[in-house]
Symmetry: C2
Subunit: 236 residues, 2 copies
DNA sequence: TAAAAAACATGCTAAATATCACTTTTTTAT
DNA sequence: ATAAAAAAGTGATATTTAGCATGTTTTTTA
């Protein structure tokens, strides 16, 4: 990961390509980040950190997909969000100096950078523009969480599953054959929606019957986003 | 609300008594706050702002209780949180410069201060210590939201109602006769738990039969917090 | 303080969802 | 490539929860 002095550094490149929050760091700060980061590889199923862990830093995802989840009753996961290229995870715990309130596990093989806590805290304390962006980021996540609470509380499982599929299309996109660019098990889908695995299986079959999707093993082909939208009953 | 120059100002007093985030403002800043705030009175049922509104400032609650909620299907409210003395609402919308993602309505008669947006933004941009506290505040709310998502997704209505009652005891306390210091309608309770009003009514009756609570109209006497804890199945 | 409105309560029924048990298919690892 | 493990799928059933109708009580307001 060493770069020529004159060339654009790894972090600089990543920050600008992904429009990440690090775009708001100064030149010096981003070079410091580039120097101090620890580049790591993870495979599907690997755990980055567990709920309750005291963590000494946070992660910026360079490639791959990570699920962030809480562990509930009988060890059942509740997926809170996914993180992908350019996004950071575990920053909440670093900033509030608390142990992790979620766990993070690799969904699709990842390249991530581990960044020591002190660095984030220094950036936040010394760079108001960056600090402001961090606030915005957190506020944005908060708004999303609030919406999700309302959805889970008020919508049926069918509506939520449709909504989750739409959201996955928005976040990860579909390829030229309309296949969703993220591969999740039925159990993982159930752990986003907040329902039983069997319920997801049954509803996906229904959606298939209704020609909204097609199923090829774990791959989901999204045929009718409008139809899913209608089912999901999205407000406003 | 005018004070002697030499005396402690209204905002100064409030900030220190309540340990609010404004404690981290400088002397000058807090006097500026004190000068620019607009003190207002609201009665139960009054609306401070509605979801979707562009807002020109945020609110600091001096007394009373406000519910912050989202409006879901068929206008059903989902209560996200309550705000009371020393707490601020609508700051998220101000900081992210978005329209309000929630509505705020008075639950118990309130004295609140309205504070113009610019002031908060200036404080955040110029005072790193304050900014850091705002980040912590947001992170804390985010952690709570994530927990709540997991609860709603995984727990039964019965478990959630028990948990909500415990949380209300923690947040608002009980008086010498063990009556909860917040008075909510059954519908409002249902809108926290995320269930139908009838379900809350039935479950409260069950809790009463099981000697966990007593009901006197809208007032709830909490007899057995341990019992409620057991029902709520709180993790860790 | 009386009338109106809102909230509370309860029984009945229907719908949604979870759970269990088991088979088949797909994926993973040797 | 094949055995083992994991995931997907399905049917039957139980449980939970919602929805509706209706009567009662409490609260609000004129």
């Amino acid at each position: 990961m060493k770069q020529h002095e004159c060339s654009i550094s790894f972090c600089d490149k990543c920050a600008f390509e992904t429009n990440s929050v690090f775009k708001y760091l100064t030149r010096d700060e981003i070079e410091r980040l580039n120097y101090e980061k620890d580049f790591r590889l993870y495979k599907r199923g690997d755990i980055l950190y567990n709920e309750g862990n005291r963590i000494s830093g946070f992660y910026c995802i360079n490639s791959g997909i990570i699920k962030v989840f809480k562990t509930g009753i009988d060890g059942k996961e509740q997926i809170i969000r996914f993180a992908r290229r350019g996004e950071i995870i575990a920053y909440r715990s670093v900033l509030s100096n608390e142990s992790a309130c979620t766990s993070a596990k690799v969904v699709e093989d990842c390249q991530v950078c581990f960044i020591p806590s002190e660095l984030l805290i220094q950036f936040v304390k010394n760079n108001p523009a960056f600090s402001f962006e961090m606030i915005k980021l957190t506020c944005h996540e908060l708004a999303e969480a609030n919406s999700y609470i309302t959805d889970i509380a008020q919508k049926t499982v069918r509506e939520r599953l449709a909504e989750v599929l739409i959201q996955l299309v928005k976040d990860f996109g579909i390829d030229d054959q309309k296949y969703l660019r993220i591969s999740l098990t039925r159990e993982e889908l159930a752990n986003i929606v907040g329902t039983a695995t069997e319920s997801v299986i049954r509803l996906l079959s229904e959606f298939k019957t209704d020609k909204l999707i097609e199923l090829n093993g774990r791959r989901i082909k999204v045929l009718d986003v409008k139809g899913l939208n209608k089912i999901s009953n999205i407000i406003i």
